[in-house]
């Protein structure tokens, strides 16, 4: 059932705190949202944080997005 299958990837409220568009962007860039450092209150992650993570050389993931 869904609930079971989802438990590995779905952050429970209060665990990974990322706005929906940042979560989608992370998937698009092939980044695990859990690795992204949020700059907002309580470590809230926004799209800018995901972009910053993507372009940070130290944590370059498998699919590095070339900065345009």
């Amino acid at each position: 059932p869904t609930t079971k299958g989802l438990s590995e990837t779905t952050p429970a409220p209060g665990q990974v705190r990322a706005v929906p568009s940042a979560r989608r962007l992370a998937r698009e860039l092939g980044i695990s949202i859990a690795e992204v450092l949020g700059s907002g209150p309580n470590g809230r992650i926004r799209s800018g944080d995901v972009h910053a993570h993507a372009s940070a050389p130290a944590s370059a993931p498998v699919q590095v997005q070339a900065p345009a």
Partner: protein
């Protein structure tokens, strides 16, 4: 392989899950077909969400015409034409289901009529035709669960589908077996239309999954309106009497004590069962657990190009969950980075007052080990609620101590479902109670009570004394 296939994606079932998947798939350029054996729109549009809400509105208007005396508006000769009511409700259903047909056409979704069965992992049979596809989405939904001893004849013993046809006259005495969302919605409808309604529930409390504090207030409001609620009670059997009434044997599940009561109509609303049988899933080796098809967060089954969504893919069995999963499956198939990763899925009981919630209940938050703070604001202190003559209930907000993060919002009150938008967005955006408290809410609105509940978390609500 894709070249030889009839469709990029073939969807089985045109309920909310299936038709959302179909339209989104088409929007993303996929060649889509959707097989439906009974009706476009599925349970939701035909015999679920929509017709119940139409009847609830009608019942609410009837009730409102009585409460109007409070401000000097009185009516004589009140008459409810049940035939017309049923027709009006059916008209809305027809409009929406033919709307789905129109959207299929506009989006170039091929609509296949009939019952689909898998032949192999890349083809299905509909009647005597076979269709192939690169991907499949199983969206076959669910059906009412049965209760031994209470055989549904859709006349005197009905399930939710039978209950949608209001009989003329309305039953004088109605028994609702099962105190879940559907049971309460129908009880509210029939109670407003003049039936004497009793709800029995096997468990110690009603509306499982909702916050207990909110449920207590909700239940009190329903009882105030004349609906009787008996928990820890079950119905063993119902016998048709010579005069057409039903003799129902009820049992107290704690004491085992039995008694018989007479009813004119019995509604069996004891849950729903996923519709995964008859598709030949076993033949494809697709994993099914207690009737639900097992899926991952991309809605894939263990056969990755076969997806499952909606009621057949697990709880909660709600239309908006089915819709979201439908979009996710279609997007994944189209190569988009979609995933079913909601922070929370809202729930609503569309009675008056409504019960609406999203996120963790107080019980769940504590069970997960959160240290919590709560804030509660009663509609009795809301000017807007007073002008709407609807002051029962409250907004309850649950936050994490320290971080101030909103974990859950639970509302009993007027238009509660309308206020879920803010609560849901807040949860998804990782909003804190302060974010909500610092947002200007228009005056006088019901939404101010959400703000006040957030302020109450910090003991700074304005219109109540904070303790």
């Amino acid at each position: 392989m894709t070249k030889a296939m009839d469709f990029d994606v073939l969807i089985i079932g045109a309920g909310p899950g299936g038709y959302h998947a179909a339209i989104r798939g088409a929007q993303l350029g996929l060649k889509v077909a959707c097989v439906e054996k009974e009706y476009l729109g599925g349970v939701c549009l035909n015999v679920g969400c929509i017709p119940t809400k139409a009847l609830l509105h009608a019942g609410d208007e009837l009730a409102a015409s009585k409460h109007a005396a409070e401000f000097g508006l009185t009516f004589s000769g009140t008459q409810l034409d049940i035939g017309k009511l049923n027709k009006w409700k059916d008209g809305i259903v027809t409009k929406l289901t033919s709307g789905v047909g129109g959207l299929f056409k506009a989006n170039k979704v091929t609509h296949l009529v009939g019952e689909a069965v898998f032949v192999d992992a890349h083809s299905i049979k509909v009647g005597d035709k076979t269709y192939t596809a690169s991907n499949f989405i199983v969206a076959t939904g669910s059906e009412p669960a049965k209760l031994p001893g209470l055989d549904v004849d859709q006349v005197s013993i009905v399930d939710s589908t039978g209950a949608l046809v209001i009989p003329d006259p309305v039953p004088a005495r109605m028994l609702c077996v099962g105190g879940g969302v559907i049971g309460f919605e129908f009880s509210h409808i029939y109670n407003n239309m003049g039936s004497k309604v009793k709800i029995i529930e096997f468990l110690p409390d009603v509306i499982p999954g909702a916050d207990r504090g909110a449920v207590a207030a909700f239940r009190k409001a329903m009882e105030k309106q004349g609906i009787e609620v008996q928990t820890q009670t079950k119905a063993n059997k119902a016998e048709k009497q010579p005069d057409g009434t039903l003799k129902v044997e009820l049992e107290d599940v704690k004491t085992g004590e039995k008694r018989s009561e007479i009813y004119d109509r019995v509604l069996v609303s004891v849950g729903r069962r996923p519709r995964s049988a008859g598709l030949n899933l076993e033949g494809l080796g697709i994993a099914v657990e207690r009737g639900f098809i097992t899926v991952n967060s991309k809605m894939q089954t263990n056969v990755p190009h076969i997806y499952a969504i909606g009621d057949v893919a697990g709880n909660p069995m709600l239309a908006h969950k089915a819709m979201k999963e439908g979009l996710v499956a279609a997007e994944v198939i189209a190569g988009e980075p979609a995933e079913m990763d909601p922070v929370a899925i809202p729930g609503v009981v569309y009675t008056s007052p409504e019960l609406a919630w999203v996120g963790l209940t107080e019980e769940e938050a504590l069970a997960k080990g959160y240290k919590i703070k709560t804030g509660q604001f009663p509609f009795a202190a809301s000017g807007r609620a007073m002008t709407l003559q609807s002051t029962d209930g409250f907004v309850k907000m649950i936050t994490e101590e320290g971080t101030d993060l909103v974990l859950g919002v639970h509302i009993v009150g007027p238009h509660a479902s309308d206020m879920l938008g803010e609560a849901s967005l807040g949860l998804e955006m990782a909003a804190t109670a302060s974010d909500i408290a610092l947002t200007i809410h228009a005056h006088p609105t019901l939404g101010e009570s959400v703000l006040e509940a957030a302020e109450a978390v910090h003991k700074q609500a304005i219109h109540i004394v904070n303790r």
